[in-house]
């Protein structure tokens, strides 16, 4: 299985019936593909829709209905359109059950950096700071390493997105839960050993007993 699909499938298992969920652009948006419609989950796009649906058929796109990445989407029955103040009221006010975002770095305090690489990439934080600060659960979905370097570090070297501790990190190698004690290794990807994960991780991991393999 491709790394991105594995991550998306594992994150999808965190989603419970009836949740309001915001998926970031890129890898996190793939999570929707693995959430059964029977769960009755509403996906929010912060540009202003609750109840985001699949890509419309070719030629059926409406220029008034896009996701936060500007891509054409549809809406599910029960969808609602909202303005940006309402959209971020939902996010900041604790009404959003879960957000799934990509990450550049996460550290031992569970803090996330994902909006800026000084001198190289300054796209702006968009909605990321509000999402990480306000959502009930924050899940970081990312590759374990980039260009051979671990993205999980003792301390983020890039500017933080929020001082809040994220809820869970899901990578192509492991599921890691940031806690008050540090980063606890919860699960291994299929065929990956605890030793391989420790070797590929720049931060200290807490390993308690047997670490089960991910269920996908």
């Amino acid at each position: 299985m491709e790394a991105k699909e594995l991550i998306a499938r594992r994150v999808a298992r965190e989603i419970r019936s009836g949740m309001l969920v915001n998926l970031g652009i890129g890898l996190p948006s793939l999570v929707a593909n693995y959430v059964p419609a029977s769960l009755g989950v509403f996906f929010q796009a912060e540009n202003g829709v609750i109840g985001l649906g699949a890509r419309p058929p070719e030629g059926m796109q409406d220029p008034h209905l896009t996701d936060a990445g500007g891509g054409f989407v549809s809406a599910v029955p029960g969808a609602a359109s909202i303005d940006s103040a309402m959209s971020f009221g939902l996010i900041r006010g604790g009404h959003l059950d879960m957000t799934v975002l990509g990450g550049l770095q996460v550290d031992e305090a569970g803090q996330l950096a994902n909006w800026k690489v000084p001198g190289k990439m300054v796209p702006g934080m968009g909605g990321a700071m509000d999402l990480v600060t306000g959502a009930a659960r924050v899940i970081v979905a990312m590759q374990h390493a980039a260009k051979g370097e671990s993205k999980i570090l003792p301390k983020c070297t890039l500017p933080l997105t929020s001082q809040r501790r994220v809820s869970l990190i899901v990578t192509d190698m492991a599921v890691i839960e940031p806690t008050a004690d540090g980063l606890v290794l919860r699960e291994r990807a299929p065929g990956v050993s605890v030793e391989q994960i420790i070797a590929a991780t720049g931060a200290q991991l807490i390993v308690r007993g047997d670490v089960p393999e991910m269920t996908l």
Binding site: N47, T66, A75, S84, T133, G134
Partner: protein, 216 residues
């Protein structure tokens, strides 16, 4: 509501150096005819307050390309390489604001509030130079209100008294900026007789709108 005018007449009303709030999210819901008219009249020295600068050739991106803008206050500029290039070259000042904070600063400006208190940005670069205020034991950043000389609103329908309705994700910043501009110019996709927009469907009451832009 004072009446309807052409986009060119509206653009002539907006002087060089003015501050403009412009609706739209990646150009969805942006008043494209007003933007085209500002480019055509060769507007200069504008300050733009908006969610993003879209992309080259679309929405606010056209004003960036035309060199009409000296300052941008936005949450995201990542999809417009020209904004980034001009920022790096020192031709364009860019203030990046978290999206939920940006819309609340505009809302505060429009609703007569002295600012907003938000946890978004605490412990990040966004906190630099700002007051932290504790309320019931919780720290918040004090974010100040934003107003502008003009608000350029993109709407779906307007009626003869200026009541506005919006469609799907084209709401975004539009209903909020309609409160925060000293002069509010709305560009609807169609103008309909009074009564076609039911009172419950009016998102921006016509009393807030100064001018409507007609087609052609």
């Amino acid at each position: 509501m004072k009446g309807a005018m052409t986009a060119a007449a509206a653009a002539n009303m907006i002087p060089d150096g003015a501050s403009l709030m412009i609706g739209g999210f990646m150009a969805v819901g942006s008043p494209e005819r007003l933007i085209d008219a500002l480019v055509a009249r060769g507007a200069k020295g504008l300050t733009i307050i908006a969610n993003d600068t879209a992309m080259p050739g679309k929405g606010i991106g056209k004003l960036i390309t035309a060199g009409a803008v000296v300052k941008v206050i936005a949450s995201h500029i990542g999809l417009n390489p020209e904004t980034q290039a001009r920022m790096i070259a020192g031709e364009l000042e860019v203030e990046l604001v978290p999206q939920g904070t940006l819309i609340e600063r505009i809302r505060a400006g429009g609703m007569g509030l002295g600012g907003v208190l938000t946890a978004t940005g605490l412990g990040t670069e966004v906190e630099i130079g700002k007051r932290v205020i504790e309320v019931d034991g919780h720290p918040f950043l004090l974010e100040t209100p934003l107003n502008a000389d003009f608000a350029l609103v993109g709407a779906w329908q307007a009626d003869y008294v200026g009541n506005l309705a919006y469609m799907l994700t084209a709401h975004n910043f539009n209903p909020i900026i309609a409160l925060a501009g000293k002069i509010v110019i709305a560009e609807p996709e169609s103008i309909v007789p009074v009564g076609v927009i039911a009172p419950d469907s009016v998102k921006t009451p016509g009393v807030l709108v100064d001018h409507l832009v007609i087609r052609g």
